[in-house]
Symmetry: C2
């Protein structure tokens, strides 16, 4: 017997298509066709494409935060090593899972919709701030461990790290290789995260 398609199935398929093709380029019918449900049943779950986009972003944020916390809160490594390990993990993931396409959904939404759709703009801001907060917490641990100077502006540094990674992803897409990501990590570890 065929399982009933639920809200989460629509979100997951939507994430897959929007992550690759962008929000405006992905039609609702394309999503419902891909999971073989009538277009109308989309509206049993979501009032509008905007509401759907917000749900997709929330779903993506949850998964990313889990990955972030899994590495950045792992006290078997020193705090700065955790940051390096996290980005090494992401660089590998970009290759193996995404072949250097897709980028970060929050960055994509921010770039495509951050200046025109107020609700999605606010949500992408909140998502990027949530990522940043995890770096900030880890940087505070690095200060406490003496890996960074006591007067480090950890929030500013976390802002720089979060944003610069987004920029590396922007260039990764047309490059279709790891070079922009590796350059980011090299300067981050060798120049920025130093005493």
């Amino acid at each position: 017997m065929r399982r009933k398609i639920n809200r989460e199935d629509i979100i997951k398929k939507g994430l897959e298509l929007i992550h690759l093709n962008g929000f405006n380029a992905t039609g609702i019918k394309e999503i419902t066709d891909a999971i073989s449900i009538p277009k109308g049943s989309f509206y049993n779950h979501f009032k509008s494409k905007e509401e759907f986009g917000l749900a997709v972003l929330k779903h993506y944020e949850k998964g990313t935060i889990q990955r972030l916390e899994g590495i950045l809160q792992n006290s078997s490594h020193l705090p700065l090593s955790r940051i390096r390990l996290f980005f090494e993990h992401l660089i590998e993931r970009m290759q193996e899972k995404f072949e250097y396409r897709y980028g970060c959904l929050a960055g994509n939404f921010s770039s495509e919709l951050g200046d025109v759709n107020p609700a999605i703009s606010q949500a992408t801001y909140d998502t990027l701030e949530a990522f940043k907060a995890r770096f900030d917490a880890c940087l505070q641990e690095a200060v406490a461990a003496g890996e960074l100077p006591a007067d480090t502006d950890t929030a500013g540094l976390a802002e720089f790290i979060t944003n610069s990674w987004q920029g590396a992803l922007v260039k990764m897409k047309p490059s279709r290789n790891a070079y922009p990501l590796e350059v980011f990590l090299k300067y981050l570890m060798e120049k920025v995260l130093t005493h």
Copy 2:
């Protein structure tokens, strides 16, 4: 007598609308309506929306390169000061001309289309590389002037600078303020561009 609308007029209006709203979100009819020409005359100048997008990007690249060279080749300042002055100029421009919206057209294209449209992807790559080449040249001057170590990988550093600025712009849009840009410039000058 009304001046005849030419190819450049369509490109300029297209740049304005695509820069704010994105490539997929901007219809050809929206552009032709905005300059009061029939939609059909668009196709006297451009075979397709893709060809038009490439022309708009080229137009944008030309203007940006002029601004880059105007500051980065001004030998009345030391090379690293020129880089700082260039970004200070851009930060001011983002506020005054764009109210912290728009971002960089090349970065926007890269983010929106870099993983799905091969022709535009290649063109955005070339545009970002053209920007990077201007930073690289200035960094080589900084090495020659003793502002940076002799063994500096100027190409790698130029890649890092170009991309990290794009990332600052990604966060600027939903933030709608200069903070991400200022944080970028602070860490660039205080940590990355040091001997």
